[in-house]
Amino acid sequence: MNRTLWIGLIMTGMLLFILIFGPHLPRVDQTLEQNLLKKDSGVGLLVPPYAPSEEFLIGSDRKGVDLWSKVMIGARETFYILAVIVGLRLVLALLVSIGAFYLSGVRLLMNIWNAVFSFMPTIFIILILLAVPGVMFSDYRPFWVMAIIAVVEVGRLSLIFYESLQTQKRQSYMEAAISSGGRKWTLFKGYYWPALKREVLSSSATEAGRAMFLLAQLGVIGIYINQEFFSQLDRSYQSVETSNSWPVLLSNLRRDVYSAEWIPLVALFFMTFSIIAFHLLADGLRKRQAIKMRRNF
Protein backbone atom coordinates (compact mmCIF):
# COMPACT_ATOMS: atom_id res chain seq x y z
CA MET A 1 0.00 0.00 0.00
CA ASN A 2 1.24 3.45 -0.93
CA ARG A 3 0.69 5.37 2.29
CA THR A 4 2.28 8.61 1.06
CA LEU A 5 -0.09 8.77 -1.87
CA TRP A 6 -3.13 8.14 0.31
CA ILE A 7 -2.24 10.80 2.85
CA GLY A 8 -1.46 13.20 0.02
CA LEU A 9 -4.77 12.45 -1.67
CA ILE A 10 -6.73 12.89 1.54
CA MET A 11 -5.05 16.22 2.28
CA THR A 12 -5.54 17.49 -1.26
CA GLY A 13 -9.12 16.26 -1.08
CA MET A 14 -9.68 18.41 2.01
CA LEU A 15 -8.33 21.42 0.16
CA LEU A 16 -10.62 20.64 -2.78
CA PHE A 17 -13.54 20.42 -0.39
CA ILE A 18 -12.76 23.90 0.97
CA LEU A 19 -12.39 25.13 -2.58
CA ILE A 20 -15.82 23.89 -3.65
CA PHE A 21 -17.91 24.17 -0.51
CA GLY A 22 -15.87 26.74 1.43
CA PRO A 23 -18.30 29.67 1.19
CA HIS A 24 -21.19 27.45 2.24
CA LEU A 25 -19.57 25.88 5.27
CA PRO A 26 -21.09 26.60 8.69
CA ARG A 27 -20.04 29.83 10.41
CA VAL A 28 -18.85 31.36 7.16
CA ASP A 29 -20.08 34.90 6.77
CA GLN A 30 -20.27 35.39 3.01
CA THR A 31 -20.51 39.16 3.28
CA LEU A 32 -17.19 39.41 5.16
CA GLU A 33 -18.66 42.05 7.41
CA GLN A 34 -16.21 44.42 9.13
CA ASN A 35 -16.82 44.71 12.87
CA LEU A 36 -14.94 47.88 13.65
CA LEU A 37 -16.19 48.15 17.21
CA LYS A 38 -17.53 45.57 19.56
CA LYS A 39 -19.15 45.85 22.93
CA ASP A 40 -17.19 44.26 25.69
CA SER A 41 -19.11 41.97 28.01
CA GLY A 42 -18.59 44.61 30.67
CA VAL A 43 -18.73 48.28 29.83
CA GLY A 44 -15.80 48.97 27.52
CA LEU A 45 -15.54 48.82 23.77
CA LEU A 46 -13.18 46.52 21.91
CA VAL A 47 -11.39 47.33 18.67
CA PRO A 48 -10.15 44.75 16.17
CA PRO A 49 -8.22 42.52 15.79
CA TYR A 50 -10.25 40.24 18.03
CA ALA A 51 -8.66 37.16 19.51
CA PRO A 52 -10.22 33.76 18.86
CA SER A 53 -13.49 33.56 20.77
CA GLU A 54 -17.06 32.30 20.58
CA GLU A 55 -17.92 34.84 17.92
CA PHE A 56 -14.70 34.58 15.93
CA LEU A 57 -13.64 30.97 15.72
CA ILE A 58 -10.02 31.65 14.85
CA GLY A 59 -10.00 35.36 15.53
CA SER A 60 -10.47 38.32 13.24
CA ASP A 61 -8.18 40.46 11.12
CA ARG A 62 -7.34 44.11 11.71
CA LYS A 63 -10.62 45.27 10.18
CA GLY A 64 -12.69 42.96 12.30
CA VAL A 65 -13.43 40.51 9.51
CA ASP A 66 -13.91 36.96 10.73
CA LEU A 67 -10.75 35.04 9.76
CA TRP A 68 -12.48 31.69 9.34
CA SER A 69 -14.81 33.21 6.73
CA LYS A 70 -11.96 35.03 5.08
CA VAL A 71 -9.81 31.92 4.78
CA MET A 72 -12.67 29.80 3.43
CA ILE A 73 -13.70 32.40 0.88
CA GLY A 74 -10.13 33.32 -0.01
CA ALA A 75 -9.26 29.71 -0.84
CA ARG A 76 -10.79 30.02 -4.30
CA GLU A 77 -8.72 33.03 -5.19
CA THR A 78 -5.56 31.51 -3.75
CA PHE A 79 -5.91 28.32 -5.73
CA TYR A 80 -6.97 30.18 -8.85
CA ILE A 81 -3.66 32.09 -8.68
CA LEU A 82 -1.80 28.84 -8.07
CA ALA A 83 -3.52 27.11 -10.98
CA VAL A 84 -2.67 29.91 -13.41
CA ILE A 85 1.00 29.94 -12.36
CA VAL A 86 1.40 26.16 -12.48
CA GLY A 87 -0.59 25.77 -15.70
CA LEU A 88 1.37 28.43 -17.51
CA ARG A 89 4.67 27.03 -16.27
CA LEU A 90 3.79 23.47 -17.30
CA VAL A 91 2.66 24.44 -20.79
CA LEU A 92 5.75 26.55 -21.44
CA ALA A 93 8.09 23.92 -20.00
CA LEU A 94 6.47 21.20 -22.14
CA LEU A 95 6.90 23.28 -25.29
CA VAL A 96 10.51 24.09 -24.46
CA SER A 97 11.49 20.55 -23.45
CA ILE A 98 9.89 18.86 -26.46
CA GLY A 99 11.41 21.51 -28.69
CA ALA A 100 14.82 20.95 -27.11
CA PHE A 101 14.44 17.20 -27.56
CA TYR A 102 14.00 17.45 -31.33
CA LEU A 103 15.77 20.68 -32.29
CA SER A 104 19.32 21.44 -31.29
CA GLY A 105 18.69 25.19 -31.58
CA VAL A 106 16.02 25.09 -28.89
CA ARG A 107 18.29 22.89 -26.77
CA LEU A 108 21.00 25.52 -26.91
CA LEU A 109 18.51 28.21 -25.96
CA MET A 110 17.24 26.13 -23.06
CA ASN A 111 20.74 25.57 -21.75
CA ILE A 112 21.65 29.23 -22.02
CA TRP A 113 18.36 30.21 -20.37
CA ASN A 114 19.05 27.84 -17.49
CA ALA A 115 22.62 28.96 -17.09
CA VAL A 116 21.62 32.63 -17.04
CA PHE A 117 18.87 32.06 -14.52
CA SER A 118 21.24 30.14 -12.28
CA PHE A 119 22.79 33.55 -11.56
CA MET A 120 19.59 35.07 -10.30
CA PRO A 121 17.89 34.03 -7.09
CA THR A 122 14.16 33.74 -7.81
CA ILE A 123 13.00 36.50 -5.49
CA PHE A 124 15.71 38.82 -6.80
CA ILE A 125 14.62 38.58 -10.43
CA ILE A 126 10.92 38.77 -9.56
CA LEU A 127 11.55 41.97 -7.60
CA ILE A 128 13.54 43.52 -10.42
CA LEU A 129 10.95 42.65 -13.05
CA LEU A 130 8.05 43.87 -10.96
CA ALA A 131 9.67 47.25 -10.48
CA VAL A 132 9.57 47.85 -14.23
CA PRO A 133 6.93 50.56 -14.66
CA GLY A 134 5.45 48.85 -17.70
CA VAL A 135 4.55 45.93 -15.46
CA MET A 136 3.67 47.99 -12.41
CA PHE A 137 1.05 50.17 -14.07
CA SER A 138 -0.27 47.68 -16.56
CA ASP A 139 -4.02 47.17 -16.58
CA TYR A 140 -3.28 43.47 -16.55
CA ARG A 141 -0.79 43.62 -13.68
CA PRO A 142 -2.14 40.52 -11.89
CA PHE A 143 -1.62 38.53 -15.05
CA TRP A 144 1.91 39.88 -15.50
CA VAL A 145 2.87 39.06 -11.92
CA MET A 146 1.63 35.50 -12.33
CA ALA A 147 3.36 35.22 -15.71
CA ILE A 148 6.66 36.44 -14.23
CA ILE A 149 6.46 33.96 -11.36
CA ALA A 150 5.66 31.20 -13.83
CA VAL A 151 8.35 32.06 -16.38
CA VAL A 152 11.18 32.52 -13.89
CA GLU A 153 11.23 28.78 -13.20
CA VAL A 154 10.33 27.47 -16.65
CA GLY A 155 13.95 26.62 -17.44
CA ARG A 156 14.37 24.39 -14.41
CA LEU A 157 11.15 22.51 -15.11
CA SER A 158 11.85 22.05 -18.81
CA LEU A 159 15.21 20.56 -17.90
CA ILE A 160 13.40 17.97 -15.74
CA PHE A 161 11.04 17.13 -18.62
CA TYR A 162 13.93 17.03 -21.08
CA GLU A 163 15.83 14.61 -18.89
CA SER A 164 12.82 12.33 -18.56
CA LEU A 165 12.60 12.26 -22.38
CA GLN A 166 16.29 11.40 -22.56
CA THR A 167 15.90 8.57 -20.04
CA GLN A 168 13.08 7.18 -22.15
CA LYS A 169 15.30 7.41 -25.22
CA ARG A 170 17.98 5.33 -23.53
CA GLN A 171 15.62 2.43 -22.77
CA SER A 172 16.67 -0.60 -24.76
CA TYR A 173 13.14 -1.31 -25.99
CA MET A 174 13.27 2.00 -27.82
CA GLU A 175 15.71 0.42 -30.24
CA ALA A 176 13.16 -2.25 -31.01
CA ALA A 177 10.53 0.39 -31.62
CA ILE A 178 12.82 2.29 -33.97
CA SER A 179 14.08 -0.72 -35.87
CA SER A 180 10.58 -2.02 -36.41
CA GLY A 181 9.91 1.14 -38.34
CA GLY A 182 8.29 3.48 -35.86
CA ARG A 183 7.96 6.97 -37.27
CA LYS A 184 8.79 10.09 -35.31
CA TRP A 185 5.15 10.85 -34.57
CA THR A 186 4.30 7.24 -33.64
CA LEU A 187 7.29 7.08 -31.34
CA PHE A 188 6.30 10.32 -29.69
CA LYS A 189 2.69 9.26 -29.26
CA GLY A 190 3.37 5.73 -28.11
CA TYR A 191 6.55 6.07 -26.05
CA TYR A 192 7.69 9.58 -25.27
CA TRP A 193 4.37 11.20 -24.48
CA PRO A 194 3.24 8.54 -21.96
CA ALA A 195 6.58 8.86 -20.15
CA LEU A 196 6.29 12.63 -20.20
CA LYS A 197 2.69 12.51 -19.02
CA ARG A 198 3.68 10.64 -15.86
CA GLU A 199 6.39 13.20 -15.17
CA VAL A 200 3.97 16.10 -15.79
CA LEU A 201 1.48 14.66 -13.33
CA SER A 202 3.87 14.43 -10.42
CA SER A 203 5.67 17.65 -11.37
CA SER A 204 2.46 19.64 -11.32
CA ALA A 205 1.97 18.74 -7.66
CA THR A 206 5.57 19.65 -6.86
CA GLU A 207 5.25 22.94 -8.72
CA ALA A 208 2.03 23.81 -6.91
CA GLY A 209 3.86 23.34 -3.62
CA ARG A 210 6.78 25.46 -4.78
CA ALA A 211 4.52 28.21 -6.07
CA MET A 212 2.66 28.34 -2.76
CA PHE A 213 6.00 28.52 -0.93
CA LEU A 214 7.01 31.47 -3.10
CA LEU A 215 3.66 33.24 -2.64
CA ALA A 216 4.14 33.02 1.12
CA GLN A 217 7.63 34.49 0.81
CA LEU A 218 6.42 37.29 -1.47
CA GLY A 219 3.57 37.99 0.94
CA VAL A 220 6.08 38.64 3.72
CA ILE A 221 7.91 41.30 1.73
CA GLY A 222 4.68 42.92 0.60
CA ILE A 223 4.20 41.71 -2.94
CA TYR A 224 0.80 40.36 -3.87
CA ILE A 225 -0.88 39.38 -7.07
CA ASN A 226 -3.80 41.77 -6.80
CA GLN A 227 -2.92 45.19 -5.56
CA GLU A 228 -4.16 48.69 -6.18
CA PHE A 229 -2.42 51.94 -5.46
CA PHE A 230 -3.92 54.28 -2.93
CA SER A 231 -2.73 57.76 -2.08
CA GLN A 232 -0.98 58.42 1.20
CA LEU A 233 -0.83 61.68 3.12
CA ASP A 234 2.51 62.71 1.63
CA ARG A 235 1.31 62.53 -1.98
CA SER A 236 3.01 59.22 -2.45
CA TYR A 237 1.17 56.07 -3.36
CA GLN A 238 1.32 52.83 -1.52
CA SER A 239 0.06 49.58 -2.90
CA VAL A 240 -2.86 48.16 -1.00
CA GLU A 241 -3.81 44.56 -1.37
CA THR A 242 -7.43 44.17 -2.32
CA SER A 243 -7.91 40.44 -2.24
CA ASN A 244 -8.84 37.77 0.24
CA SER A 245 -6.13 35.35 -0.85
CA TRP A 246 -4.09 33.74 1.89
CA PRO A 247 -0.70 35.41 1.38
CA VAL A 248 -2.33 38.80 1.97
CA LEU A 249 -2.91 37.80 5.60
CA LEU A 250 0.86 38.09 6.06
CA SER A 251 0.89 41.76 5.09
CA ASN A 252 1.13 43.09 8.65
CA LEU A 253 3.38 40.30 9.80
CA ARG A 254 5.84 42.29 11.87
CA ARG A 255 3.10 43.99 13.89
CA ASP A 256 1.00 40.85 14.13
CA VAL A 257 3.80 38.82 15.67
CA TYR A 258 3.51 41.03 18.73
CA SER A 259 -0.15 41.82 18.98
CA ALA A 260 -2.27 39.50 16.86
CA GLU A 261 -0.28 36.34 16.49
CA TRP A 262 -3.34 34.33 15.37
CA ILE A 263 -3.45 36.11 11.98
CA PRO A 264 -0.04 34.93 10.68
CA LEU A 265 -0.50 31.57 12.41
CA VAL A 266 -3.76 30.95 10.56
CA ALA A 267 -2.31 32.06 7.23
CA LEU A 268 0.85 30.01 7.63
CA PHE A 269 -1.10 26.98 8.85
CA PHE A 270 -3.28 26.85 5.76
CA MET A 271 -0.41 27.54 3.39
CA THR A 272 1.90 25.00 5.02
CA PHE A 273 -0.90 22.46 5.02
CA SER A 274 -1.36 22.82 1.27
CA ILE A 275 2.39 22.78 0.58
CA ILE A 276 2.78 19.53 2.52
CA ALA A 277 -0.31 18.10 0.81
CA PHE A 278 1.15 18.84 -2.63
CA HIS A 279 4.55 17.45 -1.70
CA LEU A 280 3.07 14.23 -0.35
CA LEU A 281 0.90 13.90 -3.43
CA ALA A 282 3.94 14.31 -5.68
CA ASP A 283 6.01 11.84 -3.68
CA GLY A 284 3.15 9.37 -3.65
CA LEU A 285 2.71 9.64 -7.40
CA ARG A 286 6.44 9.08 -7.95
CA LYS A 287 6.37 6.05 -5.69
CA ARG A 288 3.36 4.66 -7.54
CA GLN A 289 5.20 5.02 -10.85
CA ALA A 290 8.25 3.26 -9.47
CA ILE A 291 6.13 0.35 -8.25
CA LYS A 292 4.27 0.17 -11.56
CA MET A 293 7.49 0.18 -13.58
CA ARG A 294 8.90 -2.64 -11.49
CA ARG A 295 5.81 -4.72 -12.04
CA ASN A 296 6.05 -4.23 -15.78
CA PHE A 297 9.25 -6.18 -16.09
Binding site: V116, I123, A131, G134, Y237, T272
Partner: protein, 311 residues
Protein backbone atom coordinates in the same frame (compact mmCIF):
# COMPACT_ATOMS: atom_id res chain seq x y z
CA UNK B 1 39.31 22.52 -16.22
CA UNK B 2 39.84 26.00 -17.64
CA UNK B 3 36.36 25.76 -19.20
CA UNK B 4 34.94 25.39 -15.75
CA UNK B 5 36.07 28.94 -15.12
CA UNK B 6 35.59 30.50 -18.53
CA UNK B 7 32.07 29.21 -19.14
CA UNK B 8 30.61 30.51 -15.86
CA UNK B 9 32.39 33.80 -16.53
CA UNK B 10 30.73 34.04 -19.92
CA UNK B 11 27.30 33.20 -18.53
CA UNK B 12 27.80 35.65 -15.70
CA UNK B 13 28.50 38.41 -18.21
CA UNK B 14 25.33 37.48 -20.08
CA UNK B 15 23.24 37.37 -16.91
CA UNK B 16 24.63 40.64 -15.59
CA UNK B 17 24.09 42.24 -18.98
CA UNK B 18 20.44 41.21 -19.02
CA UNK B 19 19.91 42.48 -15.48
CA UNK B 20 21.62 45.75 -16.42
CA UNK B 21 19.28 46.14 -19.38
CA UNK B 22 16.24 45.62 -17.17
CA UNK B 23 17.44 47.98 -14.46
CA UNK B 24 18.30 50.68 -16.98
CA UNK B 25 14.83 50.58 -18.54
CA UNK B 26 13.65 54.15 -18.94
CA UNK B 27 11.06 55.30 -16.43
CA UNK B 28 8.97 57.27 -18.90
CA UNK B 29 5.65 56.99 -17.22
CA UNK B 30 2.86 59.42 -17.89
CA UNK B 31 0.84 59.93 -14.74
CA UNK B 32 -2.70 61.14 -14.96
CA UNK B 33 -3.80 62.89 -11.83
CA UNK B 34 -7.36 62.78 -10.69
CA UNK B 35 -9.11 65.40 -8.61
CA UNK B 36 -7.04 66.93 -5.83
CA UNK B 37 -3.89 65.23 -7.00
CA UNK B 38 -5.19 61.72 -6.50
CA UNK B 39 -3.85 58.88 -8.56
CA UNK B 40 -5.75 58.59 -11.80
CA UNK B 41 -3.62 56.04 -13.53
CA UNK B 42 -0.35 55.73 -15.33
CA UNK B 43 0.68 54.80 -18.82
CA UNK B 44 4.10 53.45 -19.50
CA UNK B 45 5.67 54.57 -22.70
CA UNK B 46 8.74 52.62 -23.76
CA UNK B 47 11.12 54.47 -26.07
CA UNK B 48 14.11 52.60 -27.34
CA UNK B 49 16.10 55.82 -27.75
CA UNK B 50 15.69 56.62 -24.07
CA UNK B 51 16.77 53.15 -23.08
CA UNK B 52 19.86 53.51 -25.24
CA UNK B 53 20.54 56.93 -23.76
CA UNK B 54 20.31 55.45 -20.26
CA UNK B 55 22.81 52.76 -21.12
CA UNK B 56 25.21 55.26 -22.67
CA UNK B 57 24.85 57.55 -19.70
CA UNK B 58 25.55 54.74 -17.25
CA UNK B 59 28.79 53.71 -18.93
CA UNK B 60 30.05 57.25 -19.40
CA UNK B 61 29.21 57.92 -15.75
CA UNK B 62 31.17 54.86 -14.63
CA UNK B 63 34.16 55.85 -16.73
CA UNK B 64 34.02 59.47 -15.66
CA UNK B 65 33.73 58.73 -11.94
CA UNK B 66 36.12 55.79 -12.06
CA UNK B 67 33.68 53.96 -9.85
CA UNK B 68 30.14 54.38 -8.71
CA UNK B 69 30.51 58.04 -7.77
CA UNK B 70 29.16 59.88 -4.73
CA UNK B 71 25.73 59.77 -3.19
CA UNK B 72 23.64 62.77 -2.17
CA UNK B 73 25.62 63.18 1.06
CA UNK B 74 28.95 63.19 -0.72
CA UNK B 75 30.04 59.75 0.40
CA UNK B 76 31.25 57.26 -2.17
CA UNK B 77 28.44 54.90 -3.14
CA UNK B 78 30.81 51.97 -3.42
CA UNK B 79 31.87 52.30 0.25
CA UNK B 80 28.27 52.18 1.38
CA UNK B 81 27.57 49.17 -0.81
CA UNK B 82 30.58 47.16 0.26
CA UNK B 83 30.07 47.85 3.96
CA UNK B 84 26.44 46.82 3.71
CA UNK B 85 27.37 43.79 1.68
CA UNK B 86 29.87 42.82 4.33
CA UNK B 87 27.07 42.98 6.86
CA UNK B 88 25.10 40.53 4.76
CA UNK B 89 28.07 38.22 4.38
CA UNK B 90 28.39 38.20 8.16
CA UNK B 91 25.14 36.25 8.36
CA UNK B 92 25.24 34.54 4.97
CA UNK B 93 28.65 32.86 5.12
CA UNK B 94 28.21 31.35 8.62
CA UNK B 95 24.75 30.11 7.60
CA UNK B 96 26.21 28.38 4.54
CA UNK B 97 29.06 26.87 6.57
CA UNK B 98 26.70 25.66 9.28
CA UNK B 99 24.46 24.27 6.56
CA UNK B 100 27.39 22.41 5.12
CA UNK B 101 28.85 20.85 8.23
CA UNK B 102 25.69 20.30 10.24
CA UNK B 103 23.90 19.16 7.11
CA UNK B 104 26.49 16.51 6.35
CA UNK B 105 26.47 15.38 9.97
CA UNK B 106 22.70 15.11 9.94
CA UNK B 107 22.75 13.34 6.57
CA UNK B 108 25.16 10.72 7.91
CA UNK B 109 22.97 10.30 10.99
CA UNK B 110 19.87 9.97 8.83
CA UNK B 111 21.68 7.30 6.86
CA UNK B 112 22.85 5.39 9.90
CA UNK B 113 19.38 5.34 11.41
CA UNK B 114 17.50 4.90 8.16
CA UNK B 115 15.83 1.73 9.39
CA UNK B 116 13.50 1.48 12.33
CA UNK B 117 12.22 4.28 14.52
CA UNK B 118 15.20 6.56 13.83
CA UNK B 119 13.63 7.30 10.48
CA UNK B 120 11.07 9.57 12.06
CA UNK B 121 13.69 11.91 13.49
CA UNK B 122 15.97 11.46 10.48
CA UNK B 123 14.62 11.26 6.96
CA UNK B 124 11.05 12.27 7.77
CA UNK B 125 12.04 15.34 9.73
CA UNK B 126 14.37 16.44 6.96
CA UNK B 127 11.65 16.12 4.32
CA UNK B 128 9.06 17.71 6.60
CA UNK B 129 11.10 20.76 7.53
CA UNK B 130 12.03 21.33 3.89
CA UNK B 131 8.33 21.50 2.99
CA UNK B 132 7.51 24.12 5.61
CA UNK B 133 8.04 27.66 4.37
CA UNK B 134 11.01 29.10 6.28
CA UNK B 135 8.95 32.10 7.23
CA UNK B 136 6.72 29.77 9.23
CA UNK B 137 9.78 28.47 11.08
CA UNK B 138 10.99 32.01 11.70
CA UNK B 139 7.62 33.08 13.07
CA UNK B 140 7.46 30.06 15.34
CA UNK B 141 10.96 30.74 16.68
CA UNK B 142 10.12 34.41 17.23
CA UNK B 143 6.88 33.62 19.01
CA UNK B 144 8.66 31.17 21.26
CA UNK B 145 11.21 33.83 22.13
CA UNK B 146 8.51 36.44 22.70
CA UNK B 147 6.73 34.02 24.98
CA UNK B 148 9.94 33.31 26.91
CA UNK B 149 10.59 37.03 27.12
CA UNK B 150 7.17 37.60 28.57
CA UNK B 151 8.07 34.99 31.18
CA UNK B 152 11.27 36.90 31.82
CA UNK B 153 13.50 33.99 30.92
CA UNK B 154 15.47 35.37 27.98
CA UNK B 155 16.21 38.75 26.52
CA UNK B 156 16.91 38.68 22.81
CA UNK B 157 16.71 41.56 20.37
CA UNK B 158 14.68 40.36 17.39
CA UNK B 159 14.69 43.29 14.98
CA UNK B 160 17.52 45.43 13.69
CA UNK B 161 21.10 44.83 12.72
CA UNK B 162 23.45 46.31 15.29
CA UNK B 163 23.53 43.81 18.12
CA UNK B 164 25.11 40.40 18.27
CA UNK B 165 21.63 38.96 18.94
CA UNK B 166 20.44 40.08 15.53
CA UNK B 167 23.41 38.48 13.81
CA UNK B 168 23.03 35.20 15.66
CA UNK B 169 19.27 34.99 15.19
CA UNK B 170 19.57 35.71 11.49
CA UNK B 171 22.25 33.05 11.12
CA UNK B 172 19.84 30.64 12.80
CA UNK B 173 16.94 31.57 10.47
CA UNK B 174 19.13 31.40 7.38
CA UNK B 175 20.80 28.11 8.19
CA UNK B 176 17.61 26.03 8.60
CA UNK B 177 17.12 25.44 4.92
CA UNK B 178 20.78 24.70 4.00
CA UNK B 179 21.08 22.16 6.83
CA UNK B 180 18.02 20.26 5.63
CA UNK B 181 18.96 20.55 1.97
CA UNK B 182 22.51 19.31 2.46
CA UNK B 183 21.41 16.49 4.74
CA UNK B 184 18.93 15.30 2.11
CA UNK B 185 21.69 15.40 -0.53
CA UNK B 186 24.15 13.61 1.77
CA UNK B 187 21.60 10.91 2.49
CA UNK B 188 21.01 10.39 -1.21
CA UNK B 189 24.75 10.33 -2.01
CA UNK B 190 25.39 7.71 0.68
CA UNK B 191 22.46 5.65 -0.56
CA UNK B 192 23.98 5.72 -4.06
CA UNK B 193 27.31 4.45 -2.73
CA UNK B 194 25.60 1.73 -0.73
CA UNK B 195 25.68 -1.11 -3.23
CA UNK B 196 29.11 -0.34 -4.71
CA UNK B 197 31.67 -3.09 -4.98
CA UNK B 198 34.28 -1.24 -2.98
CA UNK B 199 31.96 -1.07 0.00
CA UNK B 200 31.36 -4.79 -0.13
CA UNK B 201 35.10 -5.46 -0.49
CA UNK B 202 35.96 -3.25 2.44
CA UNK B 203 33.29 -4.88 4.59
CA UNK B 204 34.36 -8.40 3.62
CA UNK B 205 37.90 -7.60 4.67
CA UNK B 206 36.56 -6.90 8.11
CA UNK B 207 36.68 -3.10 8.11
CA UNK B 208 34.29 -1.80 10.77
CA UNK B 209 31.14 -0.43 9.21
CA UNK B 210 31.66 3.00 10.80
CA UNK B 211 35.05 3.27 9.18
CA UNK B 212 33.64 2.31 5.82
CA UNK B 213 30.90 4.88 6.21
CA UNK B 214 33.01 7.82 7.32
CA UNK B 215 36.25 7.21 5.49
CA UNK B 216 35.22 5.57 2.25
CA UNK B 217 31.62 6.31 1.47
CA UNK B 218 31.51 9.90 2.74
CA UNK B 219 34.72 10.73 0.91
CA UNK B 220 33.26 9.55 -2.35
CA UNK B 221 29.93 11.16 -1.71
CA UNK B 222 31.53 14.46 -0.72
CA UNK B 223 32.06 15.70 -4.23
CA UNK B 224 28.46 14.96 -5.15
CA UNK B 225 27.40 17.04 -2.18
CA UNK B 226 29.69 19.80 -3.31
CA UNK B 227 28.23 19.72 -6.79
CA UNK B 228 24.83 20.66 -5.35
CA UNK B 229 26.15 23.58 -3.33
CA UNK B 230 25.23 26.01 -6.08
CA UNK B 231 21.52 25.29 -5.74
CA UNK B 232 21.77 25.67 -1.99
CA UNK B 233 23.45 29.06 -2.31
CA UNK B 234 20.78 30.31 -4.70
CA UNK B 235 17.99 29.27 -2.32
CA UNK B 236 19.73 30.77 0.63
CA UNK B 237 20.22 34.06 -1.22
CA UNK B 238 16.50 34.14 -1.92
CA UNK B 239 15.90 33.54 1.77
CA UNK B 240 18.33 36.31 2.62
CA UNK B 241 15.85 38.77 1.12
CA UNK B 242 13.02 37.46 3.24
CA UNK B 243 15.05 37.34 6.42
CA UNK B 244 16.69 40.76 6.03
CA UNK B 245 13.53 42.56 4.99
CA UNK B 246 11.45 40.93 7.68
CA UNK B 247 13.86 41.44 10.58
CA UNK B 248 15.06 44.85 9.35
CA UNK B 249 18.61 43.63 9.24
CA UNK B 250 20.16 46.37 7.14
CA UNK B 251 22.30 44.32 4.82
CA UNK B 252 22.68 44.35 1.07
CA UNK B 253 19.44 42.48 0.41
CA UNK B 254 17.51 44.90 2.61
CA UNK B 255 18.88 47.93 0.79
CA UNK B 256 18.41 46.35 -2.57
CA UNK B 257 14.80 45.74 -1.65
CA UNK B 258 14.34 49.35 -0.59
CA UNK B 259 15.93 50.68 -3.76
CA UNK B 260 13.65 48.39 -5.73
CA UNK B 261 10.81 49.36 -3.43
CA UNK B 262 8.89 50.95 -6.24
CA UNK B 263 7.14 47.62 -6.66
CA UNK B 264 5.03 48.59 -3.70
CA UNK B 265 4.99 52.38 -3.65
CA UNK B 266 5.71 55.45 -5.75
CA UNK B 267 5.31 59.23 -5.93
CA UNK B 268 3.27 61.00 -8.55
CA UNK B 269 5.53 62.41 -11.21
CA UNK B 270 8.47 60.24 -10.38
CA UNK B 271 9.34 56.77 -9.29
CA UNK B 272 11.09 56.12 -6.01
CA UNK B 273 13.81 53.98 -7.49
CA UNK B 274 16.19 56.80 -8.32
CA UNK B 275 19.00 54.80 -6.76
CA UNK B 276 19.74 52.99 -9.98
CA UNK B 277 23.48 53.22 -9.51
CA UNK B 278 23.54 51.54 -6.12
CA UNK B 279 21.04 48.98 -7.36
CA UNK B 280 23.48 48.03 -10.07
CA UNK B 281 26.22 47.86 -7.45
CA UNK B 282 24.23 45.38 -5.36
CA UNK B 283 23.33 43.29 -8.38
CA UNK B 284 26.99 43.22 -9.36
CA UNK B 285 28.18 42.01 -5.96
CA UNK B 286 25.45 39.39 -5.62
CA UNK B 287 26.05 37.95 -9.06
CA UNK B 288 29.82 37.91 -8.52
CA UNK B 289 29.24 35.99 -5.32
CA UNK B 290 27.11 33.46 -7.20
CA UNK B 291 29.81 33.29 -9.88
CA UNK B 292 32.41 32.28 -7.31
CA UNK B 293 30.08 29.64 -5.87
CA UNK B 294 29.40 28.45 -9.39
CA UNK B 295 33.08 28.04 -10.20
CA UNK B 296 33.73 26.11 -7.00
CA UNK B 297 30.81 23.75 -7.51
CA UNK B 298 31.68 23.40 -11.21
CA UNK B 299 35.18 22.29 -10.30
CA UNK B 300 33.80 19.76 -7.85
CA UNK B 301 31.50 18.46 -10.54
CA UNK B 302 34.35 18.07 -13.03
CA UNK B 303 36.37 16.10 -10.51
CA UNK B 304 33.36 13.86 -9.91
CA UNK B 305 32.93 13.19 -13.63
CA UNK B 306 36.64 12.46 -14.07
CA UNK B 307 36.39 9.93 -11.25
CA UNK B 308 33.32 8.35 -12.77
CA UNK B 309 35.08 7.95 -16.11
CA UNK B 310 37.87 6.09 -14.39
CA UNK B 311 35.46 3.51 -12.96
Amino acid sequence: MINRILFPLFVWMLAFGILLLIILLPMDTVFTEGRGGSFGGAVYDYQFMNHWANIKFFFSYILEQRGLGLDQFGNPVSDQITSVFGRSLKIFVPAILIGFFLGIAKGVMDYRFRKGKGRILGQYTTAGVMAIPDIAMIILIQMTILYLQAQGLVDIDLFGHDTIDNVLMNILYLSIYPVMFISAITFKALEDEQGMDYVRTARSKGTPSMKVLYIHMLKNGMLKIFAHSNTMILYTLSNLFIVEVFTEYRGAAFYMYTTLGSATSFNVGGLLSADVISQIGYVFLFTVFILLANIVSGMARSIVSVQEEKL
